[in-house]
Amino acid sequence: MAIPEFLQGPSELDVSGPKVITSFKLFGLTINFTETVVLEWIVMAIIIGLVIFLTRNLRVRNISKRQAVAEMAVEAISNLVRDTMGKRFLSFTPYIATIFCFSIFGSLISLLGLRAVTSDFSVLLTWAAITFILITATKIRFGGVGGYLKGFADPIPVMLPINILSEVATPTAMALRHFGNIAGGSIIMGLVYYGLTALCHMIRLQIPILTVGIPAVLSLYFDLFSDFMQAFIFIMLTMVFISNAGPADDAAEA
């Protein structure tokens, strides 16, 4: 009896980056249109659809459950930003929410059998770069260009290379941490599937039924928990670094 291919389980462990769907040249630069971008669109469609669904028919009184959820979400993220960054950075709330939603849904999409958006290092690097730009912009906003440049020679000019390094290390570390956790998690899950399949074949089971329940338990940590944690850590670091770029004195805002 021939077993259909999709029931046979993975025959090899695939550790590779996203597929390139098409590429084109722009100003002499090869631009790849990859799987990740399509997945991003799917994630965005889910988030925007959810948001539009939640904020339909907003009312001041007699609110629906959907509206309660939307209000709770907005207030929760606003409170988080206010508590972490202070009132003066409250305008960052939508950006923090964007990264948080994008990260969580981009990671959780792996539960649907798709590639996680966040297992593409370029995505995390982009978000980390945005954070880096915001940190730098905040430093310049509060200290001026001179103050920003002087900060590199702080406390003594000899520290200049180390300061530059730490400045670059911040976004790099953030991107690598997030990428490493999600991609690592997906590799481990792939290994588990692969290993369980091999085990089933070893004990002469044609259909790898061991892969039905056991990976779900591990998936709770490597997918669900890790996805939430990494999204949360990423936004927390973003908030802390940006608010630390401002003046240390919080008394003025009270």
Binding site: G17, V20, F121, S122
Partner: protein, 166 residues
């Protein structure tokens, strides 16, 4: 074709940048703006309600003060009325008693006068009877006809003297 596992792809970066911006704008427009508008509207409504309640409370307090004042005034007025009425009644009763006393005194006086007249009448009747009796007795005693007029004069003198003695 697949990219490397840890590849840095400029195309993905550019697309991700645009997508993130689009999602940011979408969240701002579809989630934060409307929800925050509703939240601030609700806050305004709650503030309005609180202000209204405060207003109503102060008005109720003013009404209560006014009511208490009116009540106190009414009480005082009623007490005043009671006092006036009592005083008037006292006055009236005094008047009535005085009048009654006067009337009673008048009646007593009349009675006394009447009694006096009666006494006088009786006395004069008695006097004439006594004089008649005396004349008769004297006629019997002296057994002779004497001048009636003289006798009567004599007897009157006698009675007067008797009356004086009495």
């Amino acid at each position: 074709m697949k990219l490397g596992f840890l590849s840095i792809d400029i195309g993905t970066i550019l697309f991700t940048l645009c997508n993130t911006l689009i999602l940011f704008l979408a969240l701002k427009h579809f989630l934060f703006a409307p929800v925050q508008k509703i939240l601030s509207e609700r806050k305004a409504a709650v503030d309005q309600t609180l202000a209204d309640a405060e207003d109503a409370r102060s008005r109720a307090e003013a009404a209560e003060t006014e009511y208490n004042e009116k009540l106190a005034n009414a009480k005082e007025e009623s007490a005043e009325m009671l006092r006036t009425a009592t005083r008037r009644a006292q006055q009236r009763s005094d008047e009535i008693v005085a009048q009654a006393r006067e009337e009673a005194a008048g009646i007593m006086q009349q009675n006394r006068d009447e009694l006096e007249r009666e006494r006088r009448r009786a006395a004069s009747a008695l006097r004439s009877e006594i004089s008649g009796l005396a004349v008769a007795a004297a006629e019997k005693v002296v057994e002779r006809e004497i001048n009636q007029a003289d006798h009567e004069r004599l007897i009157d003198e006698f009675i007067d003297s008797v009356g004086d003695v009495q």
